[in-house]
Symmetry: C2
Subunit: 352 residues, 2 copies
């Protein structure tokens, strides 16, 4: 690069670690607790016949995480649906006694606006988390309940699910759990960003080099349990959408039923190991990988201190830990690839 | 290639169209109807509180197809679970009143054997479709009900689901539907193989050429509705597992929430358009693709005659039509790639 003196101070973007910003962001999510409880108390008192998490793209992935948490712990009917599929195929189990929980960052995502209209028409209740004030989905009367607050989608969903389970007698530790989170989670996640920063830099630099050599090769993400939704969203909404890197995300059990055959020595694979009930499924992949691959990375949430978080609660935040690590990976990828994560080739660029 | 005279008669494998074999295979599947009805009548009379389709890999994909068919048509609780996830996370809605339906070709798939043991322990009923006589899963007492019969997994599951829906008053056309299938389906599917043969040859030849030029580039499969499970299984169990070709399968709605950004002019994409309620989701992809990609293929089941099949039933067999097309694609890929589809790099080659 040859740069004349007048421009030599210009630098590519490298997002540093914003400690205060990260902490206050997570605190803001946790602070929604009372507001959420009040709404859900109403739902509880009125009664309901199903809890429906519905999303599209990244928000659908967050629905998966709420659903997998609930599955082993409550017999309440919890549904995880893709908005576009719900709008076409529908679901005959859906009634006007349903409660729908969803999230939208822009507040005007096509499918989610249609969904809100569809739910309204069916006469069911909606708790919508919207990041953007003044957007379509915040309009009066479209959703029965709206909470406007930026970020923390996973915490919001988890607050909802865990509170309904608490009311149903399925999550007795609710108060203690959230008090523990309020006291330690914001700081613990920032600490993860710090602890993983150097690793993330090396990982991103290596990735950028590999993309120079073999730009066509997809990157494989393998994960299970609450990490699966996290990897699904990370591979698709961050690497594909925001960084234009090819990916293929697979769940740990499915990895062994087809996908494994395309893994060779140089195939880039990142395995996420979390701490919930599906951890053994990820450990099986970790034992297999070294035998056939020399280009894999493993992020095991167990390796992070998470100071103050009670051991029995670590499993519930594995996906948040992974998200913190990936925050740093993203910052360095954006830098090494000189690819601003805000740009899109096609998304919302023209009608389709 | 230089070949001495003694060996010049040796030829690579090119599987021709086995008309009689294909017809009798489908007939064999359809002929299971009475046997299945008898078992399900018992289940019906004894009562049940949930219908659980559980699978892994390709059989999990077939579960998805049964579930998406049921979703819009019945309010009975139908579950679609991955066996390994069920074995670790579990599901608190599962009780001893559940009925479990699954399939296994080998009859000894690790996860499915563990699943059968787990179901047995929980005291629930199982209808297991096993392809291989004498295999572990056919052993006395492991599953409450076993039907040994090769192939036709999707027809078997669909027979089960549609009969239970019929008994529940959700599929009044049951008798007429299956009579229509018995009369015309086997021949109609063979006809699809014939009609698509030349197309499949050209498609496979082009794919083989592209793999020479850009071997790292994944092939993208996009599908919705009952075609999604079909594409999921095809991309993973056929191309990845049996042909060692990189793939990335995405559902039509999710295509627009991230994945679309990595599509460029030369990216290979195959879109499956079926005829069920989610057809509009696939049509949206078909309208988008030509704007950004010059290397896509579309298989639209609507283009096939399916002689004798009543128009209103076409939607239920879109995934079978696609399977017939892909039978021919596979035969030619095996030939052009000189890759016998029976070989595996790792699967069942060593302990992992």
């Amino acid at each position: 690069m040859i740069i004349t003196d007048a421009w030599k101070e210009e630098r590519p973007v490298l997002r540093g670690l914003d400690e205060a910003g990260s902490i206050s962001m997570v605190q803001r999510g946790l602070a929604l607790r009372k507001q959420i409880e009040t709404i859900l108390d109403d739902f509880w008192n009125e009664g309901f016949d199903g809890i429906w998490f519905i999303g599209i793209g990244g928000t659908y992935a967050s629905c998966m995480q709420a659903a997998v948490f609930a599955k082993s712990r409550t017999a309440m009917p919890v549904y995880c649906e893709n908005a576009a599929e719900f709008l076409t195929t529908g679901n005959k189990r859906f009634t006007d006694k349903a409660i729908v929980i969803f999230s939208s960052e822009s507040g005007n995502t096509k499918e989610m606006v249609q969904l809100a209209e569809c739910i309204k028409e069916k006469g069911a209740r909606t708790l919508a988390f919207i990041d953007t004030p003044g957007s379509t989905l915040t309009q009066d009367g479209l959703c029965t309940h709206v909470i406007i607050s930026r970020k923390n989608e996973q915490i919001k969903f988890f607050l909802c699910m865990s509170y309904l389970m608490y009311r149903n007698g399925d999550f007795a530790e609710y108060e203690d759990y959230w008090q523990n989170m309020e006291a330690y989670l914001p700081q613990a996640l920032v600490q993860v960003e710090k602890e993983s920063d150097a690793w993330a830099r090396a990982y991103a630099e290596k990735k950028a080099e590999q993309l120079q050599k073999r730009p066509d090769l997809p990157h494989y993400f393998v994960a299970a349990g609450n990490q699966y939704g996290a990897a699904y969203s990370y591979g698709m909404c961050y690497w594909e959408e925001q960084l234009w890197i090819r990916t293929r995300v697979v769940s740990c059990p499915e990895f062994f039923h087809g996908m494994q055959e395309v893994i060779e020595k140089d195939t880039p694979v990142t395995l996420y190991i979390g701490e919930d009930e599906q951890r053994p499924l990820a450990e099986r992949v970790a034992r297999f990988l070294p035998k056939v691959c020399a280009n894999y990375a493993i992020i095991d949430t167990k390796e992070f201190a998470l100071e103050g978080i009670k051991p029995q609660y670590r499993q519930f935040i594995s996906h948040l830990v992974m998200h913190a690590v990936n925050n740093r990976v993203d910052a360095y990828l954006e830098y090494y690839l000189r690819h601003p994560m805000t740009i899109r080739r096609y998304y919302r660029q023209f009608e389709y």
